[in-house]
Amino acid sequence: MNPRNVRGLIGWIRRVFFGDPARRFAWVSLLLTLSLAVAPTKDFFRQWRHYQRQYFKFVESRPDATALRGRMVSGIHQIWLPDLGVVDRCTTCHLGIAEPSLADASVPEPFRAHPPIPHDAEKWGCVVCHRGQGSATEVAAAHETTVAWEQPILPIHFIQASCGTCHRDDLPQAPQLDRGRQLLARFDCTGCHKIAGIDRPAMLGPDLTDIGTKVSREWLYKWLKEPRTITDANGNVTVDGVDFGEPQMPTFRLSDPELRELSAYLSTRSAHPIQPYHFDPRIVASLSKRPDVADQGEARFRQMFCSTCHSLAVTRAGETSLIGGDIGPELTKIGSKVNPDWLAAWLRNPQQYLPHSQMPRYEWSDADLYEVTRYMETKLTDPDLLADVPKLGSPTKSDIEAGRRLFVDKGCASCHVTEGLSPQEDFGPDLSAIGARNISQLDFGPAKVQPTLIAYLKSKISNPLSVNPSGRMPQYHMDAESLDAVTAALLSLTGPPATRGMEKLIVARQKPEFHPAGEFGKLYERYKCYACHKFNGFGGTLAPDLSYEGSRAMRQWLIQFMENPQTLRPTLVLRMPQFNMPESDAAVFADYFETAMQSPAVDATLDRKEFTPAMAAAGKQLYEKKYQCQACHTIGSAGGYVGPSLGNAGNWLTPGWIEAWLHNPQALVPGTIEPRQAFTADEIQALTAYLLTLKQSGPATGAAAASSARGTK
């Protein structure tokens, strides 16, 4: 463009726009009008207006269009809750969240109704649970991490984390959160980290003060290298997963010199030498010659239901799995692990070696103890277990000293007591507010993951080295579902509540304790009843809640059951162990249950004489024909095994309990799976009469069966 043309153009603009005052005025007015129109136009194209127009169009396609349109309010919506610090405009775009007719999965977001939850959006707002920036009116600003607002919304998959921010107690409606919290406790995360709401147990890992009397230096070397015993020929862990009794100890990445030093230190920990137990020489003489002594021991091991707490690896069709419970450690290769003298002493009195052990103190006869220890020492072994351990010899003084330093440096002292020193707390970072951490506060290191808190937590737990190659955190093994659960539990830890209003909402953690005094209390501690059973809200969940046992079971039945527990549920793998309890102990339990463990809903005065044979005959008809209870319950050998066997119901259950149970099972045992039926009063009476007639002959049946199965005499 040459200068003449430019001058020509300027001249043209002057003539056209500013030729005379009227033109000047007209054009300037037009420009002014247009520039004034910018703001309303921009406003017209705002993202939320776009969604509101779409919603308006979408509503037209619904059958209840008129009602939906009537309830729609255009403009910016805001939920303002000063108490909670909530200023939420989410409902500006999420227009259908309170419309029940828009609950279908086919309704496009952001218009779908909120699933029914106990908290109403009007009262709670949205970001209290969903996080994100509530006051934003654009999708990216509200949902994602931005320069001005780092907390993104929580993916729906982890939404239960938000329940845990206020509900510090167990919450059955949030199973992922509950499981995550259980895993945080199970993996002893509180050993190194401060985690609000997770209790620090009296004993995290076993006390190692006397570990040198229990295992050899070689075994310690092997264990410290990879704390798994069930491995294939290449040393790969073949059984994995926290639900199968696998060890709680994580893998520490220790070098060969470190393994030598630590094993040297630990193998010299033996403050209290073992007093070997002297079996009755006559029993040893008669049993030791028998070729099948280990087989007898195995039968006894099974009869006593050691497998309720301890698992054994079983390989079927090339696949190895652990069979048994996870309360105690897995025992597949215990014979190659422990010193035989230690084993006998341990079985006789576990609390002498580990005062905090959950293992009950069994009543052993010398013959049983001899057979069971022979079984464990000879059959539960693996000759190749220590094959790849180098020759270690006796520990040198410098190794022991270096091992002692390592024990502290590596954080072993966080979970294990040794030399009477208490575990050191706060070895790892405080996690009380990890769930509210901003992305800019996280160091992802070399990890190649999405820049989110969730991805950070998941890689930190599943592979700590990927985030911090020089970190001290050990390696945990867990499946994807467990990893998600632990992540959700960590996300729920958002530190102290932000406002006074939030503080008031917190549902504190209940810590019920039940440690009765007296004769019952002593036996309760001895047999560790609470490891499996619940008493007044305290105890384990593996076995039935015994808070109302006195109302449920007949006294004589209770005594016989505790002396020789028979199964009520034939398919259960995990059954009550046989404690070899003397009758006097069983009577103490029965007396206590009868006096203290009563349900107010059960009529204890109901007499079985009130039930006539005619009623029982009618009840049999109802049981077999009308209600077909045999779908779930067995009598004799016929029936299903969802519910307990009722073949001995007449000896087992009290009439008052049966009536109350048939009337409303959930009132007696909340959460029981027996469905509540609409029985009439007559039907309840007839069914009770029938069940009371069901008796297995002879109180000694169980004991006789057990001793004949034992087959030693």
Binding site: K42, P116, I156, Q628, Q630, G640, Y641, P675, Q677
Partner: protein, 158 residues
């Protein structure tokens, strides 16, 4: 003519402005992160099915109440299915359940088999579970059904 060009360019400017407002495309994330829960396909453990809120609630109830007779594997190990005659349908059995309406399945669960002229071995759950819970269990069946239901099961769903 020239004024027309000017107006056109102004309009273009506004169009660009308006376009800017829609430029942020939604971020693609893992579908499971957007699901309330998940369940592996019973016939193919590799296929993970994302569950809606309702189906996830149903899964929880199913594994407490129903799994004992309506699945071949239960949390306790063996299934009670073989002890019940006639054998109850597996809960993912689309071939059987897809042809039954939600209303029928909900009524059947609430009132039990005998009230519907079927086996009394199916007890009524109407006094144990709430109508919402029963609906959730049915929603769970629809989510895991093999083959998947073809027609939308809810009335009014389009």
């Amino acid at each position: 003519m020239r004024a027309g060009a000017l107006l056109f360019s102004t309009a273009l400017g506004f169009a660009i402005l308006a376009g800017c407002a829609h430029k942020s495309a939604p971020v693609k994330i893992d579908p499971l992160q957007n699901a309330y829960g998940s369940e592996p396909d019973w016939n193919d453990a590799q296929r993970i099915i994302p569950l809606s809120y309702e189906a996830a609630q149903g899964k929880q109830i199913f594994y407490e109440q129903c799994v004992w007779c309506h699945a071949d594997q239960t949390p306790a190990g063996p299934s009670n299915r073989s002890n019940v005659t006639p054998a109850p349908p597996l809960w993912n059995d689309g071939a059987t359940l897809n042809s039954l309406s939600d209303a029928f399945l909900e009524k059947f669960t609430a009132q039990g088999g005998s009230a519907m002229g079927k086996s009394a071995m199916m007890p009524p759950y109407g006094q144990t579970l709430t109508p919402e819970e029963i609906r959730a269990v049915v929603a769970y069946a629809r989510a895991i059904a093999v083959p998947a239901p073809q027609v939308p099961s809810r009335p009014g769903q389009k």
